[in-house]
């Protein structure tokens, strides 16, 4: 359960204050799939960042599983993320000096994990995303789609309760993007993770349980998506999901 109350964020831009989010309220059910859409500059990524505790709001608060994020120190928030949060970015953000396997290991190792079972899990995840034979490749040796698949495996490595995805298909061509989304959905369904995704892509957004539209830093529309809100439906979810995403597969 994620709760945002009266959330505000103001940046200094070119010497003048720029309010990106204003008095925003939002509740997200556990294990649900929320898509945040809106035009450029509407505050989508900022909202995502605040929900994940990557920055402090100028006003208001964020409760993650009942924990007020602004009451935590930066290190405590980092610890919180390490345990419960996963991320997928538009630009992949893999560490260029680490192999695919090592990149997936990072969240586990940051928590002090080591040893055979941890490596085994990372290997499993990479096999799940179809990269079982490219464990020792460096990011530069992988295509964009492959890099994003490594990022997916990394996002699920620490068994997060909440997964944040920021335009996960934004840098990929249509076909590759569709594959990534399908994997994201599948992993999400299995792990029973709450998924919050920021996207420009309305077709993609429609696959969520709920779609929130931002404009000018506040919620202007909040309606159910066409995804099935019942996570237990399993296989049928993807198959029954209508629209172009089905065709893309």
């Amino acid at each position: 359960m994620i709760v945002a109350r009266g959330l505000e964020k103001t940046y200094m831009s070119g010497g003048r204050p720029l309010t990106v989010l204003r008095a925003l309220d939002l509740e997200v059910e556990a294990r649900s799939f929320l898509a945040i859409v809106g035009p450029s500059g509407s505050g989508k990524t900022t909202l995502l960042g605040l929900l994940a505790g990557l920055d402090q709001p100028s006003a208001g608060q964020v409760l993650l599983d009942g924990q007020d994020l602004s009451a935590l120190t930066e290190d405590q928030r980092a610890g919180f993320r390490a345990e419960r949060v996963g991320f997928v970015f538009q630009t992949f953000h893999l560490l260029p000096t680490l192999t695919a396997l090592e990149n997936v290991l990072v969240p586990l190792e940051l928590q002090g994990g080591a040893g055979r079972d941890v490596r085994e899990r990372a290997r499993d995840l990479l096999t799940r995303v179809g990269l079982g034979d490219r464990l020792d490749h460096y990011p530069v040796q992988l295509s964009g789609g492959e890099q994003q698949r490594v990022a997916l495996a990394r996002a699920f490595a620490n068994r997060p309760r909440i997964l944040f995805a920021d335009e996960p298909t934004g840098n990929l061509d249509g076909e590759t993007g569709a594959t990534i989304v399908a994997m994201l959905e599948e992993l999400n369904r299995e792990a029973q993770t709450t998924l919050i995704m920021v996207t420009h892509d309305l077709t993609l957004a429609e696959r969520a349980h709920r779609v929130v539209r931002l404009s000018g830093g506040t919620v202007v529309d909040d309606r159910p998506g066409r995804g099935v809100p019942d996570a237990h439906v399993g296989e049928e979810t993807a198959a029954s999901a209508p629209g172009p995403s089905g065709e893309m597969r």
Partner: protein
């Protein structure tokens, strides 16, 4: 190409993002500062020496020899004096001086000075003005160091030879002194008459006889030389003009200056590597913009020119700052180098030095920027449309080859310009190339090995830190080069000095003799031996010393041999002309090895046991190197002139001599009997282990035999230590300078990889890394970088000093680990501190902010 557009573009571009590359220009700044300060300083010294030429000599010309002037010359000197020229005699001898009040004895320089000397400049004394009328007979003026060494004060009495003289004044500044001369041995100044009364100047005493002339008219001075050249040559009297002395003094400083300039140039070229590396990163960041420009119709060369102009402008700023800094350093150098300067140096602004520094700085910046800038021409316009368009392939095109060639030629030309001689410049350029290549190769190998063998079990942040050395666009190699170069210089100095000191300690310790006595007259032999405590008396070695000159080799005189044009290798002139101090003895010495021929008793040489038949002539055993310089071998006939009597000898053996050992060693050892009856003095070496025993012995000696000089080698060792530490200071200063340049390159490298570092830090935070974990990542990275760079430099320093010590100094090499560890720690610590200080903001900024505007 549209030049106007290129200029406007350069101006607009330079408003943004150039600050980071600007840091790199600081390495140009340091190098230029070094060059400007050293060039200006060199001019300052040369000018000061020239202006002070007469004062530095205290006269217009000087006659000098190591015996009194022969009558032929003193005759015309007298006539000069009669004609109104100023004439002053100064005799300098080395002698034991005793201070009865403290009981201390020291071997000091004793000078007898004629009234009028010096003709130019003023002598500072305490009490003031004491020297105005010269030194009165019966008193001594002393250098201040004499007071401390003998623990006396003005008014106390000194015993010099056979006279007792009260100290009337101290000589605080004699304008003829070169700063380093007084450091060699403090002096006691007497009047000429008092020196004569001391009867120090017996037969065979080591003394220097100088006659100073006041001949203000240059034509007159030159006329003297022309008229008396032959007499001077024949009598081995040197005639030196004040301006010649000034010239040779400033030559010495000039050489030092040129050496310093080469090190400055090294720093500048290292900065150049930094520039190349910075430009490389900068233009990669600019590629999207360049692609857009190309889309909009800008030509390849237009874009290239725009960026080349920016590089030149930055070079100009960097070099300009360097000129200002250099002028500042120029004013500091006289204080840093006070110990080795012949005169007080007044700094003056030098336009030529400033202009040269500016020009060289801009040139180096442009040359090193050229090659990476050429990559701009390969940016395809298509990249504006598709960001994931790959790196343009690097091809070996003509322009790239030409840019490398231009860079190489520039480096060589700069080295040639800065070096005292073309050979030195070429050698320096080659050495620089080899060093940089070796540093680069060693650094590369070490980092690869680290990556390959770094323990997989190490904690994640540590492994991440180490692997950061390999991040794309990393500047590990340039930082390794820059820091490694500094560590290399400092490490080499420390190791070489350590080994030289080791060798000294070995030479003077461990049962070897430590007291050398010379000027012992034959009839004083038993008496002097009697003063040595009985326990050490038998171990004392005595050798006769017979001053001789070479009259002929195989029947031909030195002049004939030197004039030989038949193509045979001619003997070295100095070896023919020098005064030899020969000896005769029956046994081979402890520091000698017979290499070829046979000793008098028939012992064969280690390599060749040829027996030479000398007929009824006496044999002579020559030292290997001098035999080579004289081009003589077994069976050659040498005729020695001994006090006017000729002694003919035949070379019967060649010896290798370990000159590092304090034994009575000689170039030529004659068969016993050959020189008996010839005028000679004795030298003795003895070992007196205790400092008290040595002091007691010297006191007794100066009381009984004031003409005998004793050299206490523990004092010599102290003096050598002092000289070495001065040299070390100067070179360490340079090493520190290089290290500083390395740190600037490091700062530049950190600045230019800052965006990437920020992004990685933010990403790690996003993934849940705590502040401490990120600190460990950074710490590990900088520690690894500093450690590898220093290890690279020190590994090379070890090799270089092992080579220097064994090949140049010809002594055994041993590694001194403690100072190496200290250098290692210091440089690594500096790297970590600089690195962490530059990463503060990385830890402070919230990750979202970074990830939002992070371009991949």
């Amino acid at each position: 190409m549209k030049f106007g557009f290129a200029v406007r573009l350069a101006l607009r571009e330079s408003r943004h993002g150039f600050r980071r590359v600007g840091v790199y220009m600081a390495s140009i700044t340091l190098g230029v500062a070094a060059l400007v300060s050293i060039h200006s300083f060199r001019d300052d010294v040369a000018r000061s020496v020239r202006e002070e030429a007469e004062v530095l000599m205290g006269a217009n010309a000087r006659l000098s020899a190591n015996r009194p002037l022969p009558d032929s010359i003193s005759g015309w000197v007298d006539s000069l004096a009669a004609a109104g020229a100023g004439v002053a005699r100064v005799v300098t001898a080395t002698s034991m001086v005793l201070a009865p009040s403290s009981g201390d004895v020291r071997l000091l320089q004793v000078r007898g000075v004629d009234g009028a000397y010096p003709f130019y400049g003023e002598v500072d004394t305490r009490p003031a003005g004491a020297w105005l009328q010269g030194i009165p007979p019966g008193v001594a003026f002393v250098d201040p160091a004499v007071l401390t060494q003998l623990r006396v004060s003005v008014g106390d009495t000194l015993v010099v030879g056979r006279v007792r003289v009260p100290i009337a004044a101290t000589v605080d500044d004699l304008p003829t002194d070169l700063a380093f001369q007084t450091a060699v041995g403090p002096r006691v100044h007497l009047s000429q008459r008092t020196l004569d009364e001391s009867s120090l100047l017996g037969f065979g005493s080591l003394a220097r006889y100088e006659t100073f002339l006041r001949l203000p008219d240059r034509a007159e001075r030159d006329a003297v030389r022309e008229r008396y050249e032959e007499v001077l040559d024949a009598t081995q009297v040197r005639y030196t003009l004040a301006e010649e002395q000034a010239q040779s003094l400033s030559n010495g400083v000039r050489f030092l200056g040129e050496f310093l300039a080469l090190v400055g140039l090294g720093a500048l070229l290292l900065g150049g590597i930094g520039v190349a590396s910075a430009i490389h990163v900068y233009i990669r960041e600019r590629q999207p913009g360049v692609a857009v420009l190309r889309c909009l119709g800008a030509g390849q060369w237009t874009v290239f020119t725009a960026y080349l102009l920016q590089a030149a402008a930055l070079g100009l700023f960097g070099a300009g700052a360097g000129v200002l800094l250099g002028i500042g350093v120029q004013r500091i150098l006289p204080f840093v180098l006070a110990g080795v300067l012949p005169v007080d140096v007044t700094p003056r602004f030098s336009w030529t030095s400033a202009a040269a520094g500016l020009g060289i700085g801009v040139w180096v910046a442009v040359m090193f920027a050229l090659t990476p800038l050429l990559a701009l021409r390969d940016v395809p316009p298509l990249q504006a449309l598709r960001q994931d368009f790959g790196e343009p392939p690097r091809r070996w095109r003509l322009d790239r080859v030409a840019s490398y060639a231009a860079l190489g030629i520039s480096v060589v030309v700069l080295c040639l310009l800065e070096a005292p001689e073309p050979e030195v410049g070429a050698a320096f350029a080659a050495a620089l190339g080899v060093t940089v290549a070796l540093l680069g190769a060693t650094g590369w190998a070490l980092t690869r090995l680290t990556r390959r063998f770094f323990p997989k079990r190490a904690s994640y942040p540590v492994r991440q830190g180490v692997s950061n050395l390999f991040r794309p666009r990393n500047q590990t190699v340039s930082v390794t080069l820059a820091l490694g170069f500094g560590a290399f210089i400092v490490g080499t100095v420390v190791l070489v000095e350590g080994n030289l000191l080791d060798d000294l300690t070995v030479s003077f310790d461990g049962g070897r003799p430590n007291v050398l006595l010379f000027d012992v007259q034959p009839d004083q032999r038993d008496g002097v031996l009697g003063l040595i405590p009985p326990a050490y008396r038998d171990a004392a070695q005595v050798a006769p010393l017979v001053p001789s000159r070479l009259a002929r080799i195989n029947g031909r005189t030195g002049e004939e041999l030197r004039a030989d044009t038949s193509g045979v290798e001619r003997p070295e002139g100095w070896a023919l002309r020098r005064e030899y101090r020969n000896t005769y003895r029956a046994e081979i010495g402890p520091a000698e090895e017979l290499v070829s021929g046979r000793w008098w008793d028939g012992t064969p040489g280690s390599e060749d046991g040829t027996r030479v038949d000398t007929g009824d002539l006496p044999g002579v055993s020559m030292e290997l190197d001098i035999a080579e310089d004289l081009r003589v071998g077994l069976g050659d006939t040498l005729v020695w002139s001994v006090g006017g009597v000729e002694v003919t000898t035949v070379v019967t053996s060649l010896r290798r001599v370990d000159w590092n050992r304090l034994e009575p060693n000689f170039f030529a050892v004659l068969e016993p009997g050959a020189l008996e009856g010839a005028p000679h003095t004795l030298i003795m070496v003895a070992r007196l282990p205790g400092a008290d025993e040595r002091a007691e012995f010297q006191r007794a000696l100066v009381g009984a035999y004031p003409n005998v000089s004793a050299l206490d080698f523990s004092r010599v060792q102290e003096a050598i230590d002092a000289v070495l530490s001065r040299v070390r200071q100067a070179v360490t200063f340079l090493g520190a300078f290089s290290t500083l340049a390395g740190i600037v390159v490091l700062i530049g490298a950190l600045a230019s990889s800052r965006a990437q570092r920020m992004r990685e830090g933010a990403l790690l935070k996003t993934l849940g890394a705590r502040r401490n974990q990120i600190l460990v990542v950074l710490f590990s990275e900088y520690l690894a970088l500093g450690t590898l760079a220093t290890a690279t430099g020190l590994a090379l320093a070890w090799g270089a000093s092992a080579l220097l010590v064994s090949q140049v100094f010809e002594i055994g090499f041993s590694t001194h680990f403690a100072p190496l560890a200290a250098i290692w720690t210091a440089v690594a610590a500096l790297t970590v501190i600089v690195g962490l200080a530059g990463s503060r903001t990385l830890l402070a900024r919230p990750p979202l902010e970074v990830l939002r505007d992070a371009p991949e």
